[in-house]
Amino acid sequence: MKIAVCVKQVPDTWAEKKLTDADRTLDRESADGVMNELDEYAVEEALLLTEASGGEVVAVSMGPDKAEETVRKALQMGADSGIHIVDDSLHGSDAIATSLVLSKVLADKGFDLIIFGSESTDARMSVVPAMVAERLGVPQMTFANKVEVAGETLKIQRQTEYGYDEVESSTPAVVSVVEKINEPRYPSFKGIMAAKKKPIETVTVADAGVDAGQVGLAAAWSQVDQFSERPPKAAGVKIEDDGSGGVKIAEYLSEQKFI
């Protein structure tokens, strides 16, 4: 089985995120870059599937130079090779452009599965997997908390609000995973050393066969015109318990429409 895993570098989950003054896009320099957490689950699932039935895993990331670290992290975990799509013209791309570039790069490479995390912690749109599936004309099997492949049949449990649906499709297909699906591994030191020797192919927008005018900030369908800092946290409300503390808390919660 040949599996592509799409991994994105995002600002450290716990760091305060900022927009740049210059063009109001995310300031990727202000915080350490890490692999988007849900993408770790995607890598883990790809590794589990190929460990069980053979095959290869290719980690794919679109992002600035620094994003190579994230491809490398996937290689340290055990992926076999990487593709890093890097091009100045990509700066500020929206989901539509991202899915265009990814689908061009992923097409015709013989992948049986393309696995994503179901959303990224910086953009939180959850749409790129669906868009890529649509562009490639393959089934979209999103929000999986379990994945099974038998021959050319793919079965997933698709997580819903109250439980899950069982969904079946043919391969090739696009899968996105939720965090219930597995427990991502840490790289071992052996993995860290082996990753040094694994190939990472660098791909530009032109290599992908995409016109630079279709991507980047200028081509984005939505843009940030203006932003302001989050107001500082106001002091909390203290309720003295003179015997009626419980009632006062209930009243407060009800005023704030929590209950």
Binding site: Q76, Y186, P187, F189, I192, M193, K196
Partner: protein, 595 residues
């Protein structure tokens, strides 16, 4: 930001000061690069944060129990041991031809400090196991290595070092555990050990004890001590576990700190089990008879440096935690501020800054010493044109300092960290009191402070007719020359270092001319104190020089800590040197019945 060890400081010391990347040009470390170093540092920080730190307090509160038969530990310890082994962290520093990954020890010890800061007691099991495996790799037969080392590296077995006995701690010459030779070439061990860390538990399938014992008829004293492998369960040729060996606990010790590392009094050959139907614990001789202590000492430099690093790790994390607290805690106002003005964070009080700066100077200075010594070990292991005897001379003289100085001063750092927190520091709501208790072990084990002092002055300095000291002072001289060439403040610091080093040399010469060895060694601990502070001053100047021309708060902090050390700490060596120079006999002349 992690409150274990500052990663920024590790990066500075490893890359900007010690240039560990240059080690990768040596064959032994050729498979490495900055990428693998950073990869392992990142991985260590993650594992330390997720598998070690969370149960640090639990391991202390729920200390190991012994019901007369079994030792029970909290399960998190076992999970941490497995995660550590699965990440290849036991094999990482071993050479590739020994199943390892050839990582330089300098980088490895930086990684281990993150574990020591997160949970010193749980990290203790790994350190012991690695020490045990290294000793076997150096001195055991290929069959013995094959049988015992891979399962240790894989986290299936843990190891112990069983040297001490109830009546023989500092002085191992007097151990009485004996090893009776058997017709099949094995031995049967009989005796009582004491203080043995990790001596029993059920977190791994087996435990490999390395036991010092005497073969009857051998030479007296230390020359008659041999080293044996004594597994808890015998291991068959195919690697499967066989019969229970006759090693059982007489009890466990209840300690002030390091409580999560079970400390035991194992009895060998007490008759609780009869492996093969015979009396005694089955033991396998390592190497040649009567060479056991020499084999142990072979590992001693690294073991002692790693005790110093462990002390540094606890001092370092305490420093970072008290620093964070001091930025948040509002208390008092600047001198002369009106009472209606808002209270200020305590970090703005000069005395609190004093306590934080002293901690910074101690822990970052101790880190520099441990990493510097680690780098010497790496150079020795990968000799690339250097004269190994020369490197060994320098390493030997630094080792007692690398063990003792951090054990003493990073404990003082923990004391100051408690003080910064005020009443909160004295409670169990904060980690600091535990760090202090854990760290209090370090001046005691692996050769107590007093024994290190005798080793430094007696063996390493007087015993080499001063060559060891001259070698160390030559190194300081080179640094002073660089500082003088840099000019300005660096030159002033260089001159101060040179003057202090010269004084130490003069005093050493005076001590060497005392009439006999008892008065020479009577004030050895004052000597250790003075030499230790001088070495740390030197390494602060080294850091200062590595920061020359660099701007920003981090480098300003390095410069200020250097100034602190040179102005507040280095002068403290003078009274100690005065005592030594005068051949003072106050402690020696004190009589038992005057107490």
């Amino acid at each position: 930001m992690s409150l274990l060890i500052s990663r920024r400081d590790l990066d500075f010391q490893l890359y900007e000061w010690l240039d560990v990347e240059s080690l990768t040009s040596r064959d032994r470390f050729g498979a490495h690069s900055r990428e693998t170093f950073d990869g392992l540092l990142d991985l260590s920080e993650q594992l330390a944060t997720e598998y070690f730190a969370p149960h640090n307090r639990a391991g202390d509160v729920s200390e190991p129990t012994f019901d007369g038969e079994r030792v029970t530990l909290i399960p998190e310890v076992g999970e941490a041991i497995q995660a550590f082994a699965a990440a290849d962290l036991l094999a990482a520093p071993l050479p590739e031809d020994q199943g390892g990954f050839g990582l330089p020890g300098t980088v490895y010890s930086a990684c281990m400090m993150l574990f020591g800061a997160a949970n010193a007691a749980t990290a203790g099991y790994q350190m012991l196991t690695l020490g045990n495996a290294r000793l076997l790799l150096a001195h055991a037969s290929p069959e013995q290595v094959e049988r015992f080392v891979p399962p240790m590296l894989a986290g299936r077995f843990t190891g112990t070092m069983a040297l001490s006995e109830p009546h023989a701690g500092s002085n191992l010459a007097d151990i009485t555990t004996r090893a009776e030779p058997q017709p099949d070439g094995t031995y049967r061990i009989f005796g009582q050990k004491m203080w043995i860390s990790g001596g029993d538990h059920e977190m791994t399938e087996n435990i490999v004890h390395l036991v010092l014992a005497k073969i009857p008829g051998g030479p007296p004293g230390t020359k008659g001590i041999s080293l044996f492998i004594v597994p808890k369960y015998l291991v068959s040729d195919d690697g499967s576990l066989g019969e229970r060996n006759d090693v059982v606990l007489a009890g466990i010790n209840h300690k002030m700190g390091f409580r999560g590392t079970v400390n035991t009094a194992p009895s060998f050959g007490s008759g609780a089990f009869s492996p093969g139907g015979e009396k005694g614990a089955v033991g396998y001789l390592v190497g040649e008879p009567h060479r056991g202590l020499a084999y142990m000492f072979h590992m001693m430099n690294e073991a002692r440096i790693s005790v110093g690093m462990g002390a540094t790790a606890l001092g370092y994390t305490g420093y970072l935690k008290s620093l964070e607290y001091a930025k948040d805690r509002l208390q008092g106002r600047g001198i002369g501020e009106p009472p209606e003005s808002p209270q200020v964070p305590i970090i703005s009080h000069a005395d609190v800054r004093r306590m934080l700066l002293a901690q910074k100077a101690y822990v970052e200075g101790a880190l520099a010493l441990g990493l510097y010594a680690g780098r010497l070990v790496d150079e020795l292991d990968s000799a690339d044109g250097e004269d190994p005897d020369d490197l060994q001379l320098l390493l030997d003289v630094l080792t007692p300092i690398a063990k003792s100085w951090p054990s003493q001063w990073c404990l003082v750092a923990n004391d100051l960290a408690i003080q910064v927190l005020g009443g909160a520091g004295y409670t169990r709501d904060f980690d600091l009191e535990q760090h202090y208790r854990d760290n209090r072990l370090n001046p005691i084990h692996e050769g107590s402070h007093g024994i290190q002092a005798l080793d430094l002055l007696g063996r390493k300095i007087l015993g080499t007719q001063g060559r060891g000291l001259m070698r160390l002072l030559a190194e300081m001289n080179t640094t002073a020359e660089r500082a003088e060439a840099a000019g300005g403040e660096a030159a002033e610091l260089g001159a101060q270092l040179r003057a202090s080093a010269t004084r130490l040399a003069e005093v050493t010469a005076a001590v060497g001319t005392l009439p006999d060895v008892t008065p020479m060694l009577a004030n050895a601990s004052a000597y250790l104190d003075a030499a230790g502070h001088l070495v740390i001053a030197w390494l602060w100047l080294e850091q200062y020089l590595a920061a020359v021309g660099k701007e920003g708060a981090f480098y300003d902090g390095k410069r200020q800590a250097t100034r602190y050390f040179f102005r507040w700490e280095l002068p403290k060596i003078q009274p100690a040197l005065d005592v030594l120079a005068s051949g003072d006999d106050t402690t020696l002349a004190m009589q038992e019945d005057w107490f």
